[in-house]
């Protein structure tokens, strides 16, 4: 028992590595601020393209979305960061992470938006168009507000997954929370920093998880 406490809940070590992990947490947050808006915007674009009336556009988009949803993001990241240099393209860690996340998360966000847009009845389109609103105006003022409201729990759920997924940036030496914790572990030869990192993740995400439950109840009540 004492060995376990010493190895996993060593407060002395936790205290010592806390500043390092806090810096990692900030880096994780910075990464989130970078990749989440990018994914939300890219996802919206993919959703609209996949609903295009031009079949070639729709099918190409759907094929790309399928590909990036099936491709493991870690593999994608390693390919971009370590594979591309063989082709003479050298990406910075930040660029590689952003690109890999853009491909992966916008595909997932895109599918959620698409379900949302499809959940809004045809009558809404027709009513708006019959008053002279253009297609982009109809989307902006009538369809998307309802679509997003209908799939808000899924959008937030996916955002939670994205936050967790930022830990894969550690494989390209991006000093985010997991990378910092693992580094502290290997220096102190103790697992407590990783436990501390887990606690930080949980504290960060728990409010969001609660939010999803609340939103889900609201949607169900409508």
């Amino acid at each position: 028992m004492e060995v376990f406490l010493h190895q996993f809940l060593n407060f002395e070590i936790m205290q010592k590595v806390f500043p390092l992990l806090l810096k990692g947490l900030w880096t994780t947050l910075y990464l989130c601020v970078l990749v989440i808006p990018l994914g939300l915007a890219g996802g919206l674009l993919l959703a609209l393209l996949s609903l295009s009336r031009r079949r070639a556009v729709a099918w190409t988009t759907i094929a790309l979305v399928d590909l990036f949803r099936a491709a493991p993001p870690l593999v994608l990241l390693i390919l971009l960061y370590s594979g591309l240099p063989f082709a003479g393209i050298k990406l910075t860690p930040t660029a590689a992470v952003c690109l890999a996340f853009f491909c992966n998360t916008s595909s997932y966000y895109g599918e959620i938006y698409r379900a949302g847009i499809e959940s809004v009845g045809r009558g809404q389109w027709e009513a708006a168009r019959s008053t002279g609103l253009s297609a982009p105006q109809t989307l902006t003022y009538v369809i998307l507000p309802q679509a997003v409201r209908n799939v808000l729990p899924d959008l937030v759920s996916n955002t939670i997954e994205v936050v967790k997924l930022t830990s894969i940036a550690s494989v390209v030496s991006f000093p985010e929370l997991l990378y910092s914790a693992d580094m502290a572990r290997s220096v102190t030869l103790n697992s407590s920093p990783v436990v501390l990192a887990a606690v930080m993740y949980i504290l960060l995400l728990w409010p969001l998880v609660r939010l999803v439950s609340r939103l889900e109840r609201q949607v169900a009540a409508r």
Partner: protein
């Protein structure tokens, strides 16, 4: 001089021809009623007029503009044709006033104050001055349909197309919507109405069109269509409705 002239209008969905050559003209200030069994193409005809459905053939001239021309500005055209739907199709995330003013602000680029003034006036016309801040979910079906009528009226249309405006309403709410339509008629609005409200047709319509299987079978003043129809199909349909 008719404001709307439809000639040889055809519409197919896949291999099914729903409209098989419709000729119809509507004069200014006229209220034309379209009746017929379900599947006769009444709603499709209405939806072709503002091109919610793309006609397969024939022509539609509205107020001097060829509706089916590629160069026609569809959004401008639709602004001058109001449309009222069976299922109301109000925007559920907006108040009654916002429903009525959306196109005023975004299409006609009116200021919020100006749009709100027009919107309040339109809602007053349908008897809903006290419901401007209500959301559709807080309104009865009859009230929702009146908001939808106000939304069409706010754009000052030259014609209003009604697609079974009372079919989704509980019987006790139908009267309030018909009363609004009567007021519109009295105000000189040109209206094309697909509906089964025969009593209303008898009282208010200038002309009744009977459609069946994609054709106009018979047309005439309400008294003629309801009391002494010439065609057997009309007779059978009217007898069925009156029973």
């Amino acid at each position: 001089m008719p404001i709307l002239t439809i000639s040889g209008l055809r519409k197919s969905f896949g291999t099914t021809e729903v409209l098989k050559g419709i000729d119809l003209s509507v004069s200014n200030r006229e209220l034309v009623f379209i009746i017929g069994p379900s599947g006769s193409g009444k709603s499709t005809l209405l939806r072709c007029i503002n091109r919610l459905e793309e006609p397969t053939g024939g022509g539609i001239a509205f107020d001097g503009v060829e509706v089916t021309d590629r160069s026609t500005d569809l959004n401008a055209l639709r602004r001058s044709m109001g449309m009222v739907f069976q299922s109301f199709n109000l925007y559920p995330h907006m108040t009654a006033l916002a429903n009525v003013t959306l196109a005023l602000r975004k299409v006609l680029k009116k200021s919020r104050d100006e749009a709100d003034a027009i919107g309040r006036e339109a809602l007053a016309k349908v008897g809903l001055s006290d419901k401007t801040a209500s959301y559709p979910s807080e309104l009865s079906g009859g009230q929702q349909q009146r908001v939808a009528i106000a939304r069409a009226l706010a754009l000052d249309p030259k014609i209003v197309l009604f697609d079974e405006p009372t079919s989704a309403l509980d019987p006790e709410l139908v009267g309030s919507v018909l009363a609004v339509m009567r007021d519109l008629k009295a105000g000189g609005m040109t209206m094309l109405v697909v509906s089964h409200e025969l009593r209303f047709a008898r009282d208010a319509a200038d002309r009744v069109i009977f459609m069946d299987q994609g054709h106009i079978v018979e047309e005439g003043p309400p008294s003629a269509i309801f009391n002494e129809p010439r065609e057997a199909r009309t007779r059978a349909f009217v007898a069925g409705l009156l029973r």
